[in-house]
C-alpha cells in the first residue's frame, strides 16, 4: 500500500523511537491525524523545546534550561560539596533519595581503555578547576562499584587529595556491579549518607 508521503514520513520517524514498532508508529500517526490541531502543535513544540531549550550545565554537566542547572542555581544547596557521578541518570537516582544537599559533577563516563575512554575524554579537568575556584571542602565519589568505576575513583582520588580536599566514596551498600540507576532509593540514600574517607 502506498501512503500519502507526510503520513509515511511521520510513521518512519515515530518508529525510530525506543519500544515503538512499525504497527504502533502507524497507530500513533493516524491518531495524530485525527487529533485537534492545537494538541498536535503543543506536542510538536514540546518536542522541539526539549532539544532547543535543554542545555548542558556549564558548571556540572547536568541537563539545564539555562546556562546553569537548577541544582547549581539553588542557593539552598551546600556549595562546598561536590558529588561526582558517571551520568545524568545518576543525579536523578540520588536526588530521588532526598538525602543529599550538595552539588554534582557529571564525568560523562569512566576510564575504560577497551572502550577507548581515557581521562582526556572525561570532564576531569573541569572538576579540578571547580574544586580550585569554588573552595570545595568535600568531593564524594559516587561511581558504580565495578572494575572501571573503581579505577576511575582511584584516579580521581589521586588527583584531588593533593589539593587538600576531603575525598570520600559512597558506602558499598550497593549491589556489586549494580548500577546506581537501578538500585532502590533507600539503598542509595544509605550509601550517600554513610560514606567512607579515602
Amino acid at each position: 500500500m502506498i501512503l500519502a508521503e507526510p503520513l509515511q514520513v511521520a510513521i518512519d520517524e515515530l518508529s525510530k523511537l525506543p519500544s515503538i514498532g512499525r504497527k504502533t508508529a502507524q497507530r500513533l500517526a493516524l491518531h495524530l491525524l485525527k487529533s485537534d490541531p492545537v494538541d498536535v502543535e503543543n506536542l510538536a513544540n514540546a518536542i522541539l523545546d526539549l532539544k532547543r531549550k535543554i542545555k548542558i550545565c556549564k558548571r556540572c554537566f547536568n541537563i539545564a534550561v539555562d546556562e546553569y542547572c537548577e541544582i547549581c542555581k539553588s542557593e539552598k544547596r551546600d556549595q562546598q560539596t561536590i558529588c561526582v557521578v558517571e551520568e545524568v541518570s545518576d543525579i536523578v537516582a540520588i536526588e530521588k533519595t532526598n538525602e543529599y544537599n550538595g552539588l554534582y559533577h557529571v564525568l560523562g563516563g569512566v576510564l575504560s581503555p577497551l572502550a577507548g575512554t581515557g581521562a582526556d575524554s572525561l570532564h576531569i579537568k573541569e572538576l579540578l578547576t571547580r574544586i580550585h575556584e569554588e573552595n570545595t571542602t568535600e568531593v564524594i565519589l559516587a561511581l558504580n562499584p565495578d572494575t572501571e568505576g573503581e579505577a576511575t575513583s582511584l584516579y580521581l582520588a589521586k588527583l584531588i587529595k593533593p589539593l587538600g580536599v576531603k575525598v570520600t566514596r559512597i558506602a558499598r551498600g550497593l549491589p556489586m556491579g549494580g548500577d546506581l540507576e537501578f538500585a532502590d532509593e533507600a539503598t542509595i540514600g544509605r550509601a550517600v549518607l554513610s560514606r567512607i574517607k579515602l
Binding site: 581503555p113 581515557g118 572494575t147 572501571e148
Partner: protein, 372 residues
C-alpha cells in the same frame, strides 16, 4: 548428595536409557564407543549444565534426532530433580529444577558440586601452567563465591590494562602512564587477593593430597604442591608491595610488548614427589597416580568445605595401572560413598573388590545390557 536415577533420550548413542543407581559404587562397563562415557557426560550436564568434554551441545544429539533430554533425581537436601532439554532447531538448552525452569546456569552452580577425572587430566601434571591454574581456580571457586568474583574482576582488569599498555606503546603519550598507575593499583589489589587465597588453599590442600597419595601408593613416596609466582620467587609475605615494585621494574617491557607480564594469571603450581619435580622426573605411573590423588583430594576438600558430598565421576581411572594400584584405588573408592566409574572390557575386574552394594552396569550400543 546421591544421584538415584538417570534417564536419557537421544543422548549420543542412548536413544532411551533409564538407570537406577547404587548409593555406593557404580561401575559402568563397555567397549570403546558403546556409550559408557556418555553416562558421565550426562551426569555432568545435570550438575553444571555444561559439557564434560567441552563438545558443543548440538554434537550430543543422537544422529537422526532433533533434541536430547536428560533427567536425574538427586537426594540433595530436600530432593531435587534436574531436567535438561536441548533442541537442535532452536539451539537452546532449557534447564528445569524441580520442573521449574531456571534461566541462569549460575543458579545451579555450587548446588550440585561435581569432581571429575577424565582422560585429559594428564595435562594437569604434564601440560602448561594454564591447566594447573584452572584446576586450583575451579576448586577454590567451587568452595568460595568471593574468590570467583575476584577472579572475574581480575580478568576484566587484565583486559583493560593490556589495552592501555598497547595504547601507550602506539601513542607514546606520557599522560596515559598516569592512567596506568591506577590500573596497576587495581591489578595489585585483586591480584594479591588471588595469590593470598591460592597460597592459603595450597597450604591446606597439601594435606589432602598427601592423604590421597598415601592411600594409593603407601608412605614410601611423599607428594607436595608449591606455588610458583611470577610476582616474586622469594618473598610472598608482602605480596602487594612486591607486586607493585616488580610492576615498576618491568614497566618498559610490558609497554613494549603490550602485555600483562606478571600476576597470578601467569603463575604456576609445582608438583613434587619426595622433593623431585614431577614434571621433570616423574614416571608415567607417578604422573597418573598424582592426577588421581589430586581428584580424590578435591573430592574430600570440597566435601569438608561445602558440607555436601560431591558427585564423583571417574573415566577409565584404572587404565595403565598395575593390579596393586587398582586394588588400592578400589578400596579407597569405598570411602567416597557414591561414585561413577567407567571401565573398559579389559579391566581386570578381579581386583576391584566389588561388594553387594556396588553395581556393575554393562553398556553396549547405547543400551543397558545388564546390571549386576
Amino acid at each position: 548428595m546421591i544421584l538415584q536415577t538417570l534417564e536419557l533420550k537421544n543422548f549420543r548413542l542412548h536413544k532411551n536409557t533409564f538407570i537406577k543407581f547404587s548409593r555406593n559404587l557404580n561401575y559402568i562397563v563397555g567397549g570403546n564407543g558403546q556409550g559408557k562415557t556418555s553416562l558421565l557426560e550426562a551426569i555432568y550436564y545435570l550438575c553444571t549444565s555444561k559439557n564434560l568434554l567441552q563438545s558443543p551441545d548440538s554434537e550430543v544429539v543422537n544422529f537422526d534426532e532433533k533434541f536430547f533430554e536428560i533427567s536425574g533425581d538427586f537426594i540433595n537436601g530436600s530432593g531435587n530433580k534436574i531436567r535438561i532439554l536441548y533442541s537442535l532447531e532452536t539451539g537452546k538448552k532449557n534447564i528445569f529444577l524441580n520442573e521449574k525452569q531456571i534461566y541462569k546456569s549460575s543458579e545451579i552452580i555450587g548446588k550440585f558440586p561435581v569432581v571429575t577425572l577424565t582422560q585429559t587430566d594428564h595435562f594437569i601434571t604434564q601440560g602448561s601452567p594454564l591447566y594447573r591454574r584452572k584446576l586450583i581456580d575451579s576448586i577454590i571457586s567451587q568452595a568460595s563465591q568471593t574468590y570467583l568474583k575476584t577472579l572475574m574482576e581480575y580478568n576484566r582488569i587484565l583486559k583493560q590494562r593490556s589495552s592501555l599498555l598497547t595504547k601507550i606503546r602506539e601513542t607514546g603519550y606520557p599522560v596515559y602512564e598516569e592512567e596506568l598507575e591506577v590500573w596497576n593499583a587495581s591489578l595489585v589489589k585483586k591480584g594479591s587477593e588471588i595469590i593470598e587465597k591460592r597460597l592459603e588453599f595450597i597450604n591446606e590442600f597439601n594435606g589432602y593430597v598427601k592423604n590421597s597419595y598415601n592411600e594409593i601408593m603407601g608412605e614410601k613416596e611423599i607428594p607436595a604442591l608449591s606455588y610458583k609466582s611470577t610476582v616474586s620467587t622469594i618473598d610472598l609475605q608482602n605480596i602487594a608491595s612486591v607486586f607493585n615494585e616488580n610492576l615498576q621494574k618491568r614497566k618498559r617491557e610490558e609497554i613494549a610488548r603490550g602485555y600483562n607480564l606478571i600476576g597470578p594469571h601467569r603463575d604456576d603450581v609445582i608438583f613434587k614427589i619426595n622433593g623431585y619435580d614431577l614434571k621433570k622426573y616423574g614416571s608415567q605411573g607417578q604422573n597418573k597416580t598424582f592426577q588421581i590423588s589430586l581428584k580424590f583430594a578435591q573430592f574430600f576438600y570440597l566435601k569438608d568445605k561445602l558440607n555436601k558430598t560431591p558427585i564423583f565421576l571417574l573415566d577409565d581411572v584404572f587404565g595403565e595401572l598395575d593390579s596393586e594400584r587398582i586394588e588400592k584405588i578400589s578400596f579407597y573408592l569405598k570411602k567416597i560413598g557414591q561414585a561413577f566409574i567407567t571401565l573398559t572390557d579389559f579391566t581386570n575386574v578381579e581386583n576391584l573388590n566389588k561388594d553387594e552394594n556396588d553395581l556393575m552396569i554393562h553398556i553396549s550400543k547405547g543400551e543397558v545390557k545388564n546390571v549386576s
